[in-house]
């Protein structure tokens, strides 16, 4: 495979080489992996990255996991009452061992990668499939894979959007909740969007939510707020009659009135 890949790489067109570079930047995978993954996804960077993240072991042998080790890891954290579940205490211990702050982005990334349904808990199925996808069967590997994923978020808006959308479901109080209370939403937004390219609007947004006494944010508004801040043009030529949720209309009005002041 390796020699074949080199031969292939020699024949790559310039733009394909660029794609490989970007893939590597994004995922920190080896070049041959990038090549293989991209060629299997018709040279579409987005699709390839998604594919790589959802099942890295498929491309990277180093990421294949020893299921017995994963099971042993799960067992060391599981709850005594429910053998198929890690309860909040267990999760705290796990985060501690991973040296991850429970209220950090890294903790949220872990939940996302494990597709956790409930805050502060992991089921056995979530844990096993999640670690399998990540290609980690030890704490060290898990820690490095998570760090890698977190770094990748800064490069890849698609990944961040995915995490952002996941957060709404993860953060809400119950499966039936249609809205996320503002006081819950704000810390999550801080984790997800602060410091990034969209950070500037964030403070105004929070101030607006508080001043307008908005109580909750619907899923639609949650998702579209991400779209809204991810492109500065959205604000520059804002159309109040467009398809944005009305809370964002109100926010733009708020920004305008502040600007006038």
């Amino acid at each position: 495979l390796t020699s074949g890949a080199i031969w292939l790489q020699n024949r790559l067109r310039r733009e394909q080489r660029e794609l490989v570079q970007r893939f590597v930047q994004c995922t920190e995978a080896q070049e041959p992996v990038a090549l293989q993954c991209l060629s299997q996804n018709a040279w579409r960077l987005d699709a390839a990255v998604d594919d790589y993240y959802s099942s890295p072991a498929k491309y990277d042998e180093r990421l294949s996991v020893d299921t017995r080790k994963v099971a042993a890891l799960f067992n060391s954290y599981r709850s005594q009452d429910d053998p198929d579940r890690i309860n909040p205490t267990g999760v705290c211990r796990l985060l501690d061992d991973l040296r991850i702050d429970p209220v950090s982005l890294a903790a949220l990334v872990l939940a996302w990668k494990l597709q956790a349904g409930v805050q502060g808990e992991f089921s056995r199925a979530e844990f096993v499939t999640g670690l399998g996808r990540l290609g980690a069967d030890s704490l060290d590997k898990l820690r490095s894979r998570l760090a890698q994923t977190e770094r990748a978020l800064a490069q890849d808006v698609g990944q961040l959007r995915d995490l952002h959308a996941f957060t709404f479901d993860f953060a809400r109080e119950s499966r039936d909740s249609k809205v996320l209370p503002v006081e819950t939403a704000i810390p999550y937004w801080n984790l997800l969007l602060n410091g990034g390219p969209f950070g500037q609007l964030l403070e105004s947004w929070f101030r607006f939510l508080r001043e307008a006494k908005v109580r909750g944010v619907s899923r639609d508004t949650w998702n579209l707020f991400f779209d809204f801040v991810s492109n500065p043009d959205n604000l520059a030529d804002y159309d109040p009659n467009g398809a944005w949720p009305s809370l964002i209309d109100d926010f733009v009005d708020f920004l305008k009135s502040k600007l006038i002041e």
């Binding site: 779209d227 467009g242 009305s246």
Partner: protein, 843 residues
């Protein structure tokens, strides 16, 4: 006739020269207007006939080869079969030369003449020549019908029927040499007429101009003449006939057969158009350009409009007087260009001033004139603006709309503070003000703008503008004030004993006017809410002036807004009818039961979903024991027939009458349930503290304060003297209220049942809240309806569709968006993944 047998024998053959000498004499007489007798005419005709039918071998030898050259065998067969040769070539040439000599002579007579002299000469000699030529044509009829016709059929060029030969001779040898003088003379005559000077008789001009039309045959065209020949059997001796006028000629065209080359009328007009019409049109336009510019500099626009209209009329008349009718359309177009299109911007400037001054006639004239202007006028003639409208009316319509809207806003502004500040709000003043503006401009559209569709639309738009949002709505800080006030006004009209009451036809008319305003209201749902509130009060309190008028009003609303709009209103009527019946049955029940109530009792049972009556919290009251029997008996009665229905009492709508027994006069007090509850307490004792009253009646303190205030104000209850001076704004719980045993009043019936303040305020808030709720439902229902059929839709399209479907009010985009948000939350809709501005319907 006897001297000249029809088919000439050798004896009567004359040589051509002999015959011609005789005929020429006759022609001379004809052209000299000496007249010829019938026998003379006949002789000439016969001479020519004989000549033409004679067969002169020698002559034939000369002509035959020439005539026969290159011709088909059919001709030969016909010749031999007929036995007669068509002879005439030489005769024709002689005649042609003779005519030419005459015309050249006439031409010389006109040499050196200019202006009127020339035209007069033209008229006199042309009409004479033409008339005489008709006679000559008749004399040469046989030649026409045989030799000329044959030659033409054979396709020989430059051979004409005799009449046409004459005309052609005139054209070539008189008209063409003098053309350069005739046209300027004509033009100056017409211009003099336009300046109002005396001119030659217009009949002269007509003859001259018709000459151009009549001479319009192609040089090789025998059409007109062949028609002449066909109808030109031996003519009366006097020669010529009036029936051969130029205009009738032009109709005949090639219809006479013969040559088959009759030109179409447009071809025939070509000569006229080239020689006369083109210059005439140019000069006309030039004349009016100069005239209109000069006139406008010195006169008002209205004077100019009148003049322009007169000018157009004159030009129209000119066309019927002496210019050919085919010119009319072109002439008027050019006149309008110069007189109107070039000055549109001036008219537009003047238009608002005319509206200001109510110059109906001038406005009508401006409208009529501008509506003639259909084409964009040339940019160089414009006074400024670049985007020139295609139609002269466009700008007027725009200006009119703006003007009416402005007048409406002004009118409303001038009354708005008066309307709002007067007690109970002077809805009549407001509606009358609106109607005044509408009626004025409605009539104007009718009278001055002949009810033109576009002006009607402009009026509608303008009314919509100033009726829905104006100074008054701004002042009231309520964009829905107009429908509210309109509903109030209808209430004032339909309520018994109101100061705005009118009767009979006048009431019907006034309600029709209300509908006029209603039509323009955007928030029809707000009107409905208020209307139903007022209607409910009228019905509950039996205050309607007439049930017929009420239902006629409802059918008017139904007509305008459809069945749904009025279902609740109609339901209310049904309930009232049913209640009437119910009361009768209840009376029977009471009698049968033997349990007399001891008082008159009437009740209305109304379905809660149709009536805008809400049992609000804090409207409760403990019914005095005297009344309680009524309630329990009725409950028993009602439950028997309508099991499962829940009766709720709206005490705040109830009222009763009390009779005072403690006073010298027996007063009848019209009071509310609350007041009954309070006053009945004084049957046991004559003085209570406010606290006592509150405890016994369990009326909410806020309501009780107002109830007591009214009773104190009416001096039925008195405050202890120490507190009498104090402002009765709030009665302390310990305040003692005593029955005024010396109560006196001028009237025996006293109405104490005025509406409570907090109640009316509450109702108002309730109404606007209801409106908002209903709107959300309507928008959501509409969104779901649309999405259900379309499955997927872009945001903008969906919004537009919803706006177009909702007729009772005009939803804002923001409102629609809020409801889209709600539907997404409720999972009726979702955004299509990857397309932020597209929604999908979730079944």
């Amino acid at each position: 006739m006897s001297r000249y047998p029809p088919y000439g024998g050798a004896t009567s053959i004359q040589s051509l020269n002999e015959m011609w000498a005789q005929v020429k004499q006759g022609i001379d007489r004809i052209y000299n207007m000496e007249g010829i007798s019938k026998p003379q005419y006949m002789k000439m005709y016969t001479d020519i006939y004989n000549y033409c039918t004679s067969v002169d071998p020698a002559r034939n030898c000369v002509t035959q080869p020439l005539a026969k050259k290159g011709k088909g065998e059919a001709r030969g067969a016909k010749d031999t079969g007929g036995g007669a040769r068509f002879v005439g070539d030489e005769l024709y040439t002689k005649l042609k030369d003779d005519l030419k000599a005459r015309v050249v002579d006439l031409k010389r007579g006109a040499d050196g003449k200019v202006g009127n002299d020339l035209l007069e000469y033209f008229y006199t000699h042309w009409s004479r020549f033409r008339k005489c030529s008709v006679t000559v044509d008749g004399i040469f009829n046989y030649l026409n019908r045989n030799w000329v016709k044959r030659e033409c059929d054979e396709g020989r060029k430059n051979i004409y029927f005799v009449y046409q030969l004459a005309l052609n001779t005139w054209k070539e040898h008189w008209l063409k040499p003098h053309q350069a003088q005739v046209i300027p003379a004509l033009m100056s005559e017409i211009e003099r007429e336009r300046r109002g000077e005396n001119i030659l008789k217009s009949a002269y001009l007509k003859v001259i101009i018709d000459c151009y039309v009549e001479l319009g045959f192609e040089s090789d065209d025998g059409g007109a003449a062949s028609a002449m020949a066909a109808s030109g059997s031996p003519a009366p001796a006097s020669g010529g006939s009036v029936s051969r006028g130029g205009s009738s000629r032009s109709h005949v065209g090639g219809g006479g057969g013969g040559s088959g080359k009759g030109g179409s009328s447009t071809d025939r007009l070509h000569f006229y158009e080239e020689m006369f019409e083109r210059q005439f049109l140019d000069e006309t336009e030039q004349f009016y350009r100069v005239e209109s510019r000069d006139f406008l500099q010195q006169n008002s626009v209205t004077a100019y409009l009148a003049k322009a209209e007169r000018r157009l009329e004159e030009e129209r008349k000119r066309c019927s007087d002496y210019v050919h009718r085919s010119t009319e359309e072109k002439l008027l177009a050019r006149c309008m260009e110069a007189l109107l299109a070039a000055h549109l911007s001036v008219f537009w400037q003047e238009f608002p001033a005319l509206l200001d001054a109510d110059r109906e006639q001038d406005l009508g004239r401006m409208y009529r004139l501008c509506s003639h202007v259909q084409q964009p006028h040339r940019a160089d003639a414009a006074g400024g603006s670049d985007s020139l409208p295609v139609n002269g009316l466009d700008r007027l319509v725009e200006l009119f709309e703006q003007y009416v809207a402005d007048r409406g806003l002004e009118a409303v502004k001038s009354v708005s503070s008066a309307v709002l500040s007067s007690e109970g709000q002077d809805a009549k003043l407001y509606v009358d003000t609106i109607l005044g503006v509408h009626r004025k401009y409605y009539n104007l559209v009718l009278q001055a703008f002949s009810n033109n569709r576009r002006f009607v639309e402009a009026l509608d738009k303008a009314c919509m503008k100033f009726i829905n949002r104006n100074e008054l709505t701004k002042l009231a800080k309520n964009n829905q004030k107009t429908p509210e006030l309109l509903a109030r006004y209808s209430d004032a009209l339909l309520k018994k004993g109101s100061k705005d009451n009118v009767v009979g036809d006048e009431l019907e008319d006034t309600l029709t006017h209300v509908m006029t305003v209603f039509k323009y209201i955007e928030d029809k749902d707000v009107f409905q809410k208020f209307y139903s509130r007022f209607l409910s009060r009228r019905l509950v309190y039996n205050q309607s002036v007439s049930e017929d008028v009420e239902s006629s009003m409802i059918s008017k609303l139904k007509e305008n807004c459809g069945f749904d709009y009025t279902t609740k209103l109609q339901r209310m009527f049904q309930d009232i009818g049913a209640s009437r019946e119910l009361n009768t049955r209840f009376q029977d029940f009471v009698t049968k039961d033997g349990a007399a109530l001891g008082l008159d009792f009437e009740i209305k049972v109304l379905s809660s979903n149709a009536w805008p009556i809400h049992i609000s919290q804090g409207s409760g009251v403990t019914i005095p024991s005297e009344l309680e029997r009524c309630y329990t008996t009725f409950d028993r009665f009602y439950k028997k027939t309508h099991e499962g229905r829940k009766l709720q009492y709206s005490y705040n709508y109830c009222r009763g009458e009390l009779i005072t027994n403690f006073t010298k006069n027996r007063y009848t007090l019209q009071v509310s349930t609350y007041q009954i509850a309070v006053l009945m307490m004084y049957n046991t004792e004559t003085s209570y503290t406010v606290q006592d009253i509150a405890a016994t009646t369990s009326i909410e303190p806020q309501v009780l304060q107002q109830v007591l205030a009214i009773l104190v104000k009416a001096k039925l209850l008195t405050l202890p003297s120490a507190e009498a001076a104090a402002d009765a704004a709030e009665l302390a719980p310990g305040t003692r209220l005593a029955l005024n045993q010396d109560f006196k009043n001028k009237r025996l019936r006293i109405n104490l049942n005025s509406q409570l303040k907090c109640e009316s305020k509450q109702e108002q808030e309730q109404t606007s809240r209801l409106v908002e709720e209903d709107r959300s439902y309507m928008i959501q229902a509409c969104l779901v309806r649309v999405m259900k059929t379309r499955k997927e839709m872009k945001h903008q399209k969906l919004v537009a569709e919803v706006i177009s479907q909702l007729s009772q009010f005009k939803p804002s985009v923001q409102q629609i968006k809020k409801n889209i948000d709600t539907l997404i939350e409720k999972e009726y809709l979702q955004r299509k993944s990857g397309e932020r501005d597209k929604y999908e319907y979730l079944a």
